[in-house]
């Protein structure tokens, strides 16, 4: 008889690492004028999970993030080559409506940027212009549920008509996340969403990210490596415009395969 006892421990379920790729990038290059800012990036980003982009300033991680909702289109000298698909659809196709794309791919920025309007209007604006609500009751429902999903509703329910800019930094950032959610996106891009927040507000946003990954594909750029290790399931390391290494977060932060990744995450960069 086998006398060995099974001591297997149930670990926290590792979410959908093997899930179908939501975003697929093939040989993506970005040029700002003569500057070759992003060099031949190939990556598959799985759906309903958090993928973190890390790397030193100027490494191309934000540039790549901004390719995913074509934010780079707004920069006149910027040129993007290669192919990016979302759920199989080429987002650089001429026939694609960029406004629709940005409804599918929401974005949260480093500094919270609520509109100088009421909390209610901040959330209601997107659904209204995208025609997501047929009447005021539906609109109100979207506002409330978005605030709830962003974990902000309890804190603001008595002052929905107050200005969004009057909230604390952490609350403003969660308001921006609620605003992004309100238009029912498939993907949420976050460009250093916590770098302007204090540790408690950061923890709240991280908690929220963890919760949202059940429904959305989240891509987050962060300078905080511990944050990347905490919130993401996959991590991609960028350096000098190259995607150096991409893989399961646990492996990237414990046994990275590329020397440059190891030097960066252990704080040994030149």
């Amino acid at each position: 008889m086998d006398a060995r006892v099974n001591f297997d421990v149930e670990f926290q379920e590792q979410p959908a690492v093997a899930a179908a790729p939501k975003i697929v990038a093939r040989d993506v290059n970005v040029y700002y004028g003569d500057k070759h800012a992003l060099k031949g990036v190939n990556v598959d980003i799985p759906e309903r999970s958090v993928t973190a982009f890390i790397g030193p300033s100027g490494c191309g991680k934000s540039t790549f993030l901004r390719c995913i909702n074509r934010m780079n289109d707004t920069i006149p000298i910027c040129r993007v080559t290669g192919k990016i698909t979302i759920a199989g659809e080429d987002i650089y196709d001429r026939s694609l409506d960029v406004v629709q794309l940005r409804a599918r791919v929401g974005m949260v920025f480093q500094k919270p940027n609520p509109f100088p309007k009421s909390i209610f209007e901040n959330i209601a604006y997107g659904p209204r212009i995208h025609g997501l609500a047929r009447n005021n009751a539906e609109l109100e429902e979207i506002v409330v549920s978005s605030l709830q999903r962003a974990g902000l509703f309890e804190e603001v329910k008595d002052r929905l008509n107050d200005s969004g800019t009057g909230l604390s930094g952490g609350q403003q950032q969660r308001l921006c996340i609620a605003r992004a959610i309100a238009v029912a996106p498939e993907i949420i891009l976050m460009d250093e969403p916590c770098s302007a927040l204090d540790p408690i507000a950061t923890a709240r946003v991280e908690d929220l990210i963890d919760e949202l990954r059940g429904d959305y594909t989240i891509v987050i750029v962060t300078h905080n490596m511990q944050q990347a290790a905490r919130v993401s399931q996959r991590t991609a390391f960028f350096h000098l415009g190259e995607l150096v290494e991409e893989g399961v977060t646990e492996a990237i932060f414990s046994t990275p395969s590329d020397r440059r990744t190891q030097d960066y995450i252990t704080g040994r960069f030149g």
Binding site: F253, S254, T266, G267, R268
Partner: protein, 241 residues
């Protein structure tokens, strides 16, 4: 490996390494002192080994404290985190080595000046020497981050087990031949077992070194040659007519 951008982080890691070095020296001295005292029945030397153990324990606490502080202050990742966790583990093993050496020394004091049979002394001596070599080699491999050196120590532990097994048989035989030697031989048996355990701690340190360097845990099972558990005492029992 390139330096950290924060130079004081390198300094922290270096201090941890040198503390492990000091602790390894202390544990090595305790082991060789205890072996020497056992072979030569040197009670004074044994007393000295017993007294010196406190310094090893103190170092372990200091290493642990420093490691925890470094983790809190630097939030180390990857190889740095492994280095710090490894320092704690190695300190733990070395503290045990110190205790085992101290226990051998205490038994030397307990059995006093009684002489043991020559063959037995030779067996204990070669076991002690062999274990000392293993400990020295593994600490060197750890210091130099030498994965191959660590693996060599890991693979050689079987020889120590084999030495212990043969001592076990011998002691069993002596005890059966002359029941008056049972007290004395039991002390020697514990001494032999303690030395063999030091070999296991050297193997632990080899595994830790391998983990630091490669980031991987040794996948295969340890080589085991301690067959003393399979020896049936009844087989050795004198026949009753």
């Amino acid at each position: 490996m390139p330096q950290h951008t924060v130079a004081s982080f390198d300094a922290d890691l270096k201090v941890l390494d040198s503390m492990i070095g000091d602790m390894g020296d202390g544990a090595g001295r305790a082991l060789s002192g205890a072996t020497k005292a056992l072979i030569g029945r040197d009670v004074a030397l044994a007393q000295h080994v017993i007294g010196a153990d406190r310094a090893i324990d103190t170092l372990q606490h200091e290493i642990e404290e420093r490691a925890v502080q470094t983790i809190a202050r630097r939030q180390p990742m990857a190889v740095d985190l492994r280095e710090i966790v490894a320092a704690m583990r190695v300190a733990n093993d070395l503290e045990r080595v110190g205790d085992l050496a101290k226990n051998v020394a205490k038994r030397v004091v307990a059995i006093g000046e009684q002489r043991s049979p020559v063959a037995l002394a030779a067996g204990l001596e070669s076991l002690g020497l062999r274990v000392g070599e293993q400990l020295g080699a593994v600490l060197k491999a750890y210091r130099n981050r030498d994965a191959a050196g660590a693996m060599a120590v890991w693979e050689a532990d079987g020889a120590i087990d084999a030495l212990f097994t043969s001592l076990f048989r011998e002691l069993l035989t002596y005890m059966m031949e002359d029941p008056r030697s049972i007290g004395f031989c039991t002390h020697l048996l514990f001494c032999a077992k303690n030395l063999e355990r030091v070999g296991d701690h050297a193997t632990n340190i080899a595994e830790t070194a391998h983990f630091v360097i490669t980031g991987k845990i040794i996948a295969t099972e340890r080589p085991k040659a301690d067959e003393s558990i399979a020896i049936d005492a009844a087989m050795h029992a004198p026949r009753t007519s």
